[in-house]
Amino acid sequence: MSLCSSYKPNYFSIDDILATEERLSCKVLQKVPRLGFMDHSSESKDLKPGTKLELSFWLAYSMNKSKDPIASIDIPKYYKESYREILNADACAIELSKWNTYFYEFGLHVAKFDHPDCEKLPELLLKTFKSRFRLVMDWAQNQDTNPMIASQLPMLERTIFLSGRKSKEQLVYWFKIGGGGIKTTELIANHKKRKRSTFIENER
């Protein structure tokens, strides 16, 4: 087990915690006493070798990464050879968030495993990102884009899209009106909105 695991971007990152929660299919290799409840289908007290489990990445990783692994893992199909061809053909045509909301982040985590498909994974992610980046930027720059498109993007691209959109809005505001204005801060505006909606609900 790797004792020194570094956390990216930091230990408290919500996105990283959610990305490492994504599931992998694992196969138990050794008998683990008194943890039989991890497999819902069996009633035995111990976890038996050969049991197939769907485990979150963080657990799968610590069970797999050691000199003497407890479980073997199988990487998700969308990081495998057949899906790689789809990505190579046209990455822009795919709704990546349907594959995984944390496609890039999770991919980087998966790449840490010793699996034949993992070696090429970082390269694949980079290539996918490069070919999709122009598209995302176009969307962010174009004001006619439907903002709902953000929900179809994986997390990394969504963040880029939203901040790109925001800076575009700020630029337009600056062109039209200039700087030096005071605005109600977003936090407070949202707070007011929410208060108003609960108020209306109560009225009903």
């Binding site: 408290f12 919500i14 959610l18 006493p33 991890m38 204005g181 707070h191």
Partner: protein, 222 residues
């Protein structure tokens, strides 16, 4: 299943990015209980079967869950504190009651002491006069701004004792330093910097005309 609750906790924060969800004490207690249980099981295993290889494996798994639970709880608390700190800068030193009910007692205490810290610091800078760091976050371009009331505010008093009635849908030209907080926090006032410049010009022209008229009448009286 192991560690499921920790993620629930973090997801709760993720789903409400622009506000603060009520402090989920129940879930935290559940996670802490799980951690305590795992720790006890590990301790018993270590004490009773120290040389057993298989026991070592279960300890390893439990330890991973322990670490995960710890990370989730800490991330939850830390990210909440960051939001509370942000609120100090946006809402000011007094939080609206809807928000205070979502905070836990230690969080309220933390907010108070952070507030105090910030106030002490702001008092200590600015050549003995103190400097309000929460105002003028963007460099001001003019001393006066034109604002439109979007709600009935009532009497608004300036620092020098003068006051103005702020009624809904009325326009005012006010000193920027006085009403910045009003715009930023109460949301009851809007401004449009462009109309400000136009109106300022008009204002100056009118002043010019007035002075002209005055000088004219002065001439006549002579």
């Amino acid at each position: 299943m192991f560690g499921r609750r920790g993620v629930e906790l973090v997801k709760e924060l993720d789903q409400s990015l622009d506000s603060i969800p009520p402090f989920n004490e129940e879930l935290i207690t559940e996670i802490l209980e799980e951690m305590q249980r795992l720790y006890n099981e590990n301790r018993i295993d270590v004490n009773t079967r120290p040389d057993d290889h298989e026991t070592y494996l279960s300890i390893k798994v439990r330890h991973a869950v322990l670490k995960r639970d710890k990370r989730c709880i800490l991330a939850y608390l830390y990210n909440r504190l960051r939001r509370i700190r942000q609120m100090r800068w946006e809402f000011g030193s007094i939080l609206p009651p809807e928000i205070t009910v979502s905070l836990s007692k230690p969080e309220v205490q933390w907010f108070d002491s952070y507030s105090k810290c910030l106030a002490t610091y702001m008092k200590s800078i600015g050549d003995n006069h103190g400097l309000n760091l929460t105002s003028d976050l963007a460099p001001p371009k003019s001393l006066f701004i034109e604002v439109k009331c979007i709600a009935d505010y009532g009497k608004f008093e300036f620092g020098d004792g003068e006051s103005v009635q702020l009624k809904k849908n009325t326009y005012h030209l006010l000193p920027r330093s006085e009403c910045e907080q009003l715009v930023r926090q109460d949301g009851c006032v809007l401004l449009s910097p462009r109309s400000l410049t136009v109106n300022c010009k008009r204002h100056c022209e009118r002043k010019d005309q007035e002075t002209k008229r005055e000088s004219l009448s002065a001439c006549r009286s002579l």
